[in-house]
Amino acid sequence: MNNDYRARNHPAWWAFLMHRLSGLALSLFLPFHFWALGNALQGEARMDALLKWTEQPLLKFAEIMLVLLLAAHLTGGLRLLALEFLPWRGWQKSLLAWAAGAAFAVGLAFALAL
């Protein structure tokens, strides 16, 4: 027999899902990132036009989401490294809360600084 979602409904599994999804989303964004950078090679005007285009509110919002994803993936990775390399017992839940909190704080700081 196989497990269904009920077996997976616990904090560490959600953390795993978040880490996996943020990783996938970031890797999907990467080609756009390179494409945008590549535009700089085509001259200043073209790059400026692109940067102007990204000033739209919707894209600003997407940018905040991107920073949140990055922060989530980074803190999720740090959490994993801590789990793998530090001798631990019993504090993985607090670690998880720290990782989520830190990711959120970074996202918020970025959103407010805009």
Binding site: M1, N3, D4, A7, H10, W13, F16, G90
Partner: protein, 239 residues
């Protein structure tokens, strides 16, 4: 009388759920519910238990989708309205009803070299080995030693579902307690047995095993310990 609606898996792998009405009682365990069905409604229901006090590890089942030891799981903790669903453990072949074939699970303990091998050449005529109770090895072994072999962690692990060869949390936890047994003489062979794709390196650190283990063991920590021990041994050229 207050009745529970209990849906119980009947048959082998291609069976289905059947619903039974069981009187609700105070301080009732899920195992009590299953036993009531077998004693009062349908004597052909198969299930396993022995100690009824959380020592033998025989009574594990999937209760409302989550693997649990049923003798120490109160109905009040898991009941949804007045419904409970009881199925055999996941990740193991179903023999009949709530009974799974645990052979694969225990064979993996053997494959992970879960047996103690005396390393000092001492015999039963010699005095006891002395291991300081606060030594780091003893503390690490202690953290995993209370395993009752119930299979709850194994049934909860996604990597076991994905890779049927994966040794799984319980066997690896057992190996880790022995790696920390200073009297043991098979450290190198054991580390070689638990390294690699079907061993500790397959673990995704989902922590499902640690979340569900009824004995509050954290196999994930033991597996992380094995990964570090294997890496250290490999660096020293011992593997």
């Amino acid at each position: 009388m207050n009745m529970l609606q209990v849906s119980v898996w009947r048959g082998g792998a291609s069976g289905g759920y059947r619903i039974y009405e069981v009187p609700r009682q105070e301080s009732q365990s899920v195992l009590d519910v299953v036993t009531y069905i077998q004693r009062h409604i349908d004597p052909t229901l198969s299930y396993r238990f022995a100690c009824r006090v959380g020592m033998c590890g025989a009574c594990a089942m999937t209760v409302n989708g989550v693997a649990r030891w049923t003798c120490r799981t109160h109905v009040s903790k898991v009941v949804k309205g007045n419904a409970i669903q009881i199925a055999p453990l996941a990740n193991l072949p179903v023999i009949k009803d709530l009974v799974t074939d645990m052979r694969g699970f225990f064979d993996k303990w053997a494959r992970a070299r879960g047996q103690f091998v005396s390393g000092s050449g001492t015999t039963r005529k010699d005095d006891f080995a002395r291991v300081a109770s606060d030594s780091p090895e003893r503390v690490a072994a202690n953290a995993g030693i209370e395993c009752i072999g119930c299979g709850v962690c194994y049934a909860s692990c996604d990597v076991v579902s994905w890779n049927p060869d994966y040794l799984g949390p319980a066997a690896l936890n057992r190996a880790w307690t022995l790696v920390n047994d200073v009297r043991d003489g098979a450290r190198r062979e054991r580390l070689a047995a638990v390294a690699g794709d079907a061993g500790c390196h397959a673990c995704h650190t989902h922590l499902a095993c640690s979340e569900r283990c009824p004995k509050d063991i954290e196999p994930t920590a033991s597996i992380a310990g094995l990964k570090r021990a294997v890496a250290r041994a490999a660096l020293k050229g011992e593997l």
